[in-house]
Structures are given as structure tokens and as C-alpha cells.
């Protein structure tokens, strides 16, 4: 199975071979990656070459859309205008306004900082369909773009999630708004929802570990231990679900076991000590294994952590 890195290397190596560039852009679209500099470069190259563009058939419109979005990200005015013009010429008719084109117009307005124009577009879309999730989400992005405080953004996301309870992207966005404002109980709640949707996703478990660890670190030694113990459980679960190359969970588990012993218990023995030490050992061995691939100085730094 090819990876992004492989496709990019192939495209870089053969700049005149538009089939490689096309394959790369298709992969980026399919996996919903955000690689604006790469997409702008290769998208422009393909679209500027008549033969390459015509060989795409209908796929060319997806490439135009993708390249337009990349042009917005890298602030390439010429590329943006060219893509927008092509899309509007093909799809924008007065009789049946395309929802997809309206959304793109909104995005162009957002990129220019014209919040009112963007909101007008999304309001228009919602008039036609009050459950247009894409438009509702863009409205929240405009709110953020205008510099709204985390409270307002969280309120808006809550409103959206009340309608679209299974939108995991929105749950994660809300979780991170809470985490950024250090509202740990709320962030944890969101990630617990996500973990319910996808119990085998190791990154949700690991993020719960991180949140509980940060929560504990802000409390006094006595209150911290229950938080650290929950963190330990989540890090261990993340490691269990994804053993190989899971440096984040291994580091998290190591730091948590260390915090439990050194910060909370000190010299006082506890029934849990044996388990704590065993988990710490497990974390250390996973971390060392994960760092086999790293440059020697990084490995040495990791080894110092383990010691």
C-alpha cells in the first residue's frame, strides 16, 4: 500500500510526468490530508498543461476545487482567481445555484477576512437546507476567525453537536477548545464520547491519559493521585492497542508511573507499588524499543529519561 511520502517522492522525481502528480493529488483528496504547498504546486502544474488537464476528464473539477483550497491556504491570489473562474464558468448558473460552489465562495470570502460576505453565503445555504452540516460548521469557523473567546466557540460547537451527535471531528474540536482553556472535566467528557464511538482508537485513549495527567499535575499531591491513576490506565490501554512505535503513550505511561511514585507516595509504601513499578518497566521497554529507529542523540535523551 503506497504512502503519501512515497507518492510525493515519485512526483518530485518526475516533474514532467503528470500521472505521478495526479496520483499524489488523488491520494491527498482521498485521505483528506492538508498539504497546501504541495497541492498548489502540483495542482497548478497539471491545470496549466492542456493535455494533462483534459486527460483527467471529470476528475479535473475535483482538482480545481482542491487546488483552489490550497491556493487559499498559501495565499496565492493568481492561482485562487484562476481556479475560481474555471469552477464558476462550469458550475455557477443562476437557475440552480450549486451548494458546493456556494460553500467555496464562502471559503474564498473567509480567506479574505470578509466575514459578513461569508456568513451571507452560509445563511443562504441554510435557508435552503437548515441541516446543512458543512454550512453550520463554517459558521463556527467564522466565529473563530473573528477571534471569539473559547466560551463562545464551545457554545457554538455544543449547539452543532446537539444536532449532529455523531460528528467525531466536532467532538474533537470541542474537546481541544476545552483543553486549551484548561477545562479538563469538559475535555475528558468529549474524549470519552469519542472513545465510545471508537473504542479501539488508541489516540483517544492516549489523549485521555494526557488530559488526566495534566489535570493531576495541576493539583496537590493528595488530590493528584486519583487523576494520575486514571491517566496510567488510559496510557496503558493506548499502548496495549498500539504497541509498536507508540512513543507518546510510552512516554506518558513512564511519566505517570514516575509521578505516582515520586510526587504522591515518596517513601511511603502502597499496595499498588508493585503494579506501578511493573507498568513503569513496561513503558520503559516500549520506549526503548520505539527509539531504536531514532538518531543516536535522540535515543540517548530517551534513555536518560528511562534511567
Amino acid at each position: 500500500m503506497t504512502s503519501y511520502a512515497e507518492l510525493k517522492t515519485a512526483a518530485d522525481a518526475a516533474p514532467r510526468d503528470f500521472s505521478k502528480a495526479t496520483a499524489l493529488l488523488k491520494f491527498v483528496r482521498g485521505h483528506q490530508l492538508r498539504k497546501p504547498a504541495v497541492v498548489a504546486r502540483y495542482g497548478a502544474a497539471i491545470l496549466n498543461d492542456r493535455r494533462a488537464a483534459s486527460r483527467l476528464g471529470d476528475e479535473v473539477w475535483s482538482v480545481y476545487e482542491q487546488t483552489l483550497l490550497a491556493a487559499l491556504d498559501v495565499d496565492d491570489g493568481e492561482l485562487r482567481d484562476a481556479c475560481e473562474a474555471a469552477i464558476l464558468e462550469r458550475f455557477d448558473s443562476a437557475s440552480t445555484p450549486s451548494q458546493r460552489v456556494e460553500r467555496l465562495k464562502g471559503l474564498v470570502a473567509e480567506a479574505a477576512g470578509d466575514w459578513d460576505a461569508a456568513m451571507a453565503r452560509y445563511a443562504g445555504l441554510l435557508e435552503g437546507n437548515a441541516a446543512n452540516a458543512a454550512a453550520l460548521k463554517r459558521e463556527i469557523c467564522v466565529l473563530k476567525g473573528r477571534g471569539a473567546k473559547p466560551d463562545k466557540v464551545a457554545e457554538a460547537l455544543n449547539g452543532y453537536l446537539a444536532k449532529f451527535q455523531s460528528d467525531s471531528g466536532a467532538w474533537q474540536a470541542l474537546a481541544e477548545v476545552h483543553a486549551g482553556a484548561l477545562r479538563f472535566p469538559d475535555a475528558v467528557f468529549c474524549y470519552e464520547e469519542l472513545a465510545l464511538f471508537d473504542p479501539l482508537a488508541q489516540h483517544y485513549q492516549r489523549r485521555l491519559g494526557e488530559l488526566y495527567y495534566s489535570w493531576g499535575a495541576g493539583l496537590g499531591a493528595a488530590k493528584a493521585e486519583p487523576k494520575y491513576r486514571r491517566a496510567r490506565k488510559y496510557f496503558a490501554r493506548s499502548l496495549e492497542l498500539h504497541k509498536k512505535d507508540n512513543a507518546r503513550a510510552a512516554t506518558g505511561l513512564l511519566l505517570t508511573c514516575s509521578a505516582i511514585k515520586l510526587q504522591c507516595r515518596g517513601a511511603k509504601p502502597d499496595g499498588d507499588d508493585e503494579l506501578n513499578a511493573a507498568l513503569g518497566q513496561l513503558a520503559a521497554s516500549h520506549l526503548t524499543a520505539a527509539y531504536e529507529r531514532a538518531a543516536p542523540p535522540c535515543r540517548a535523551a530517551a534513555a536518560a529519561l528511562v534511567a
Binding site: 504547498a37 527509539y291 542523540p297 536518560a304
Partner: protein
């Protein structure tokens, strides 16, 4: 801090950038992190704040630096290449590896020796 015994190098500070382009406020977690670094490293830490707006100016490096001054932070002078140099590096395909990227793929070196090499050559 952990690298110290091996190479004689230290982690000397922490840089922060806000998500919103017009948010010039001090990043909330930056001060406490810098303090923790100072405590762990046994030497004062420098706090570097990136101004998103100033980065748009090719001749400006967009950085402000601070050191602990009693209860708050006092400004330090910053000597740094302008943002046009960073863009040149980006165009040349030089990618900075921060610790977050390193944790995603430990093969990426958070000491960024390739950046040092490129800067020396360009």
C-alpha cells in the same frame, strides 16, 4: 535538560505562537513551562513569543523574547534572520522538526541538524 550530560547542550527556553493571527496576548501556558524548564535546568529560561502579524513582514523575524524579572517578564533583545529567510528554507524543502512531530515519528530529529547545516550553507 536530558540532553545535557551527553553533549553539554541545554534546553534554554520555550517558544509560543497563538492560533489566531491577531491574538498578541501572552500564550497562557508559556510562562509556567518556561519556569519549569528553568527549575529543571538550573538556569534561567528564555520565553520567545511569535507575533503572527509581524511574520508577514519579510524583513521582520516576528519574535519577542522575555526573561524573568521578579514576578513578571522583562523584554530581551533578539537577533535573528528575517522571515524571508524562513520562507527560503521552506521553499527549499527544509522542515523544522518540533518535539510534537518527533513524537509522531521518532526517526525525525528534534535537534534539527539539517536546519543548522542549511543555514550555514545559505
Amino acid at each position: 535538560a536530558h540532553d545535557a550530560p551527553a553533549s553539554g547542550r541545554r534546553i534554554v527556553g520555550y517558544y509560543a505562537a497563538n492560533e489566531h493571527i491577531d491574538d498578541a496576548s501572552a500564550a497562557r501556558t508559556a510562562g509556567p513551562v518556561a519556569d519549569a524548564l528553568a527549575k529543571g535546568g538550573g538556569a534561567p529560561a528564555v520565553l520567545v513569543q511569535i507575533s503572527n502579524r509581524r511574520l508577514a513582514d519579510a524583513g521582520d523575524h516576528g519574535l519577542s523574547a522575555f526573561a524573568r524579572a521578579g514576578d513578571s517578564w522583562g523584554p530581551l533583545d533578539v537577533a535573528c534572520a528575517p522571515s524571508s529567510k524562513f520562507l527560503a528554507a521552506l521553499d527549499a524543502g527544509i522542515e523544522i522538526v518540533d518535539f510534537d512531530a518527533h513524537l509522531d515519528d521518532v526517526a525525525k530529529d528534534w535537534r534539527n541538524p539539517h536546519v543548522g547545516d542549511w543555514l550555514e550553507a545559505n
